[in-house]
């Protein structure tokens, strides 16, 4: 390194490092939960699930060209959406499943906590950069159409599969995004992308 880190840069790197660990743990838990979910819901693990409305897609073009702020905002929007989706899944599971599948419910609840914690972590990073944290009410208004009508049991199961798969992808993407954020800029010592964001 050319120069000593500024306190904010050090804090940012620390937050990013912790966030990377959180995301890594989250991914490992999602993958375990996916296996259990597929088995208990009687689904085919290789089944293709079309993009489900309301599930944020991790797929992105020109990922390497994103600014730090873009990364944080997109991550935050995604995890807030996953928080709502997982809460909905948990509610549906409680209605569908008996005591035998209580383990699945507990795993979902634990994952929901992790997602909430990660979303909060992202908000901290945004505050560190003195970026305004978008309110969730604003995001809901920007999301567009109202939620779709209640799905059939099978559709709920397939949607749940899609949610977990996409969450697993997001966990990987978040790790990569945070690593990019943690990189020091050679000139200023600030993380790349955040300095040039509007």
């Amino acid at each position: 390194m050319a120069a000593a880190d500024s306190p904010s840069a050090a804090l940012r790197r620390d937050l990013c490092t912790r966030g990377i660990r959180l995301a890594g743990k989250m991914r490992a838990d999602v993958l375990d939960l996916l296996d259990a979910y597929v088995e208990q819901q009687g689904l085919d693990a290789s089944a293709s699930v079309a993009a489900v409305e309301g599930v944020p897609l991790a797929a992105v073009e020109r990922w390497d060209e994103q600014t730090g702020t873009q990364r944080l905002l997109q991550n935050l929007a995604a995890y807030r959406a996953f928080r709502a989706l997982l809460a909905q899944m948990l509610e549906e599971q409680r209605e569908q499943l008996g005591e035998a599948e209580a383990g699945l419910g507990r795993a979902l609840a634990a994952l929901l906590l992790q997602v909430s914690a990660f979303a909060y972590h992202l908000e901290e990073l945004l505050r560190l950069e003195s970026r305004g944290v978008p309110g969730e009410e604003e995001e809901e208004e920007e999301d567009g159409p109202p939620p779709p009508p209640r799905l059939s049991l099978f559709e709920q199961k397939l949607r749940g599969l899609g949610v977990l798969r996409e969450l697993a992808q997001w966990a990987v993407r978040s790790v990569r995004d945070l690593r990019q954020l943690a990189k020091p800029s050679p000139a200023t010592g600030a993380a790349p992308g955040l300095a040039e964001s509007p």
Binding site: G24, R27, S48, L57, A58, A59, V60, E61, W63, D64, R165, E166, Q169, W170, V172, R173, V175, R176, R179, Q180, K183
Partner: protein, 435 residues
């Protein structure tokens, strides 16, 4: 003129406007065992044009069969000259034009029949193979050459000559081969997140040219797989999207003259990520540490951004005299110190790499060998030599088990007892090892 120049097959009416046909544009396709004549055979090729039927014109002009002229002649002398000239041209063309050379593909085990161009079945011909006159009568059915149950050794050039004139009437290159089996296709990303490559090969050779076509689809989108300069059976694709759950579908089709086959691979972005092995693996002894080896390596040069996409490593090592490996997984850094090496034993060490989050482990690196540090061995001396020396030595040495290790009477100096104890420990260690 007829005596000097045997009549050729009926040429088209406007011969003077046509050059002799050197190619075989109107010939039947390859593999059919027939070849076109020197000039188009109007009756067999189904060639059509706006001309009158040759027999009608022939009758009208009263010219000998095979010699065609166009238009009316005002001067008999000039007419005769033109006829002679035309005949000369025709004959010259016949003598010097070569029949088209074909390539004919046949399956191993097939029965092949070759016709001598447009020669009749009962024409007198001679067939040669690869320029040698080795096609005996048993292979002939009239003027047809019959090859039964062909094998690879029968690939080659077959030529047919008209019996008396030895005029080359037909030539073909027979290539015996097989249709392609299902190709073997592999796709891998060793340079994530830039892209991935696919490579392929046939499980068994076909002995004839094969043509490969690859298609890549991501969801509903067709992607272009750019051919690599080397190796030839490989192409690469740049990722347009990252972190997609949509699978990639790669279809490889192989075609040759005898058949076609294909294979399909379906995978997602993460599953095919496999780095190349670590490079520049070095293992060195640690001075004054008989049980340590210091190992270092570098990220594979093909991995484009190890800072953003760090690799983790798996190191394995064993002494040469044992079969069982020790393993260490390392989540960061490109070096490691082995601390439990057997003293004095030569070790073999390898390293593998994997993306920290996705994909599979690389192949093992090139193996390196190293032996932990040992003290400089003391020269072994006889009793007589030792009694002549008075110098003390403080160094210890490792003697092979068969060597006399400890003879108090032969040792001098303050290090003698240390030497004996060390040697004794070594012998004990060897004994335990080999039990």
């Amino acid at each position: 003129i007829e005596m000097l120049f045997p009549p050729p097959p009926p040429p088209p009416l406007n011969l003077l406007l046509w050059l002799p046909v050197m190619g075989c544009d109107g010939c039947p396709g390859e593999g059919e065992g027939t070849a076109g004549p020197d000039v188009p055979n109007l009756s067999s090729e189904g060639w059509t044009s706006g001309q009158k039927n040759p027999p009608d014109v022939y009758e009208k002009l009263g010219t000998p069969q095979g010699l065609w002229t166009g238009g009316e002649m005002a001067n008999p002398v000039r007419s005769a000259c033109c006829v002679v000239l035309a005949a000369v041209v025709v004959v010259y063309a016949q003598r010097h034009s070569q029949p088209d050379s074909h390539i004919q593909y046949e399956r191993v085990g097939a029965d092949v029949t070759m016709k001598c161009g447009s020669m009749d079945w009962d024409a007198a011909v001679t067939w040669t193979a690869n320029g040698t006159r080795d096609m005996d009568e048993s292979h002939l059915n009239g003027s047809y050459l019959i090859l039964k149950n062909v094998d690879l050794s029968q690939s080659g050039q077959y030529s047919c000559y008209e019996g008396s004139s030895w005029h080359l009437k037909y030539q073909t290159y027979l290539r015996v081969g097989t249709p392609p089996k299902e190709p073997v296709l592999m796709c891998r990303s060793n340079n994530y997140p830039k892209g991935f490559y696919c490579s392929w090969h046939l499980p068994t050779p076909t002995y004839i040219p094969n043509y490969f076509n690859i298609s890549v689809i991501h969801g509903t989108k067709d992607m272009v797989c750019e051919k690599d300069a080397t190796p030839k059976n490989r192409c690469h694709i740049r990722y347009l999207q990252l972190f997609s759950t949509v699978k990639y579908k790669v279809t490889l089709t192989v075609t040759n003259a005898l058949g076609k086959n294909f294979t399909t691979l379906t995978f997602d972005e993460f599953a095919i990520v496999k780095p190349d092995p670590p490079e520049s693996v070095v293992a060195k002894p640690v001075p004054n540490n008989p049980r340590r080896l210091e190992v270092s390596w570098q990220n594979p040069s093909s991995w484009p951004d190890p800072e953003s996409f760090p690799l983790k490593f798996f190191l394995r090592y064993r002494p040469l005299i044992l079969d069982q490996w020790q393993h260490v997984e390392l989540s960061d850094g490109t070096s490691h110190t082995i601390t439990d090496a057997y003293a004095g034993k030569e070790y073999i060490i390898q390293v593998a790499a994997k993306d920290n989050d996705i994909g599979t482990w690389s192949d093992w690196s090139v193996a390196v060998h190293a032996t932990p540090w040992t003290e400089e061995p003391k020269h072994l001396t006889t009793e007589a030599q030792i009694t002549e020396t008075t110098s003390a030595s403080t160094s210890s040495f490792m003697a092979p088990p068969t060597t006399k290790i400890c003879d108090k009477g032969a040792m001098v100096g303050s290090g003698a007892m240390a030497v004996c104890w060390t040697a004794g420990l070594v012998v004990a260690a060897y004994s335990i090892l080999f039990i």
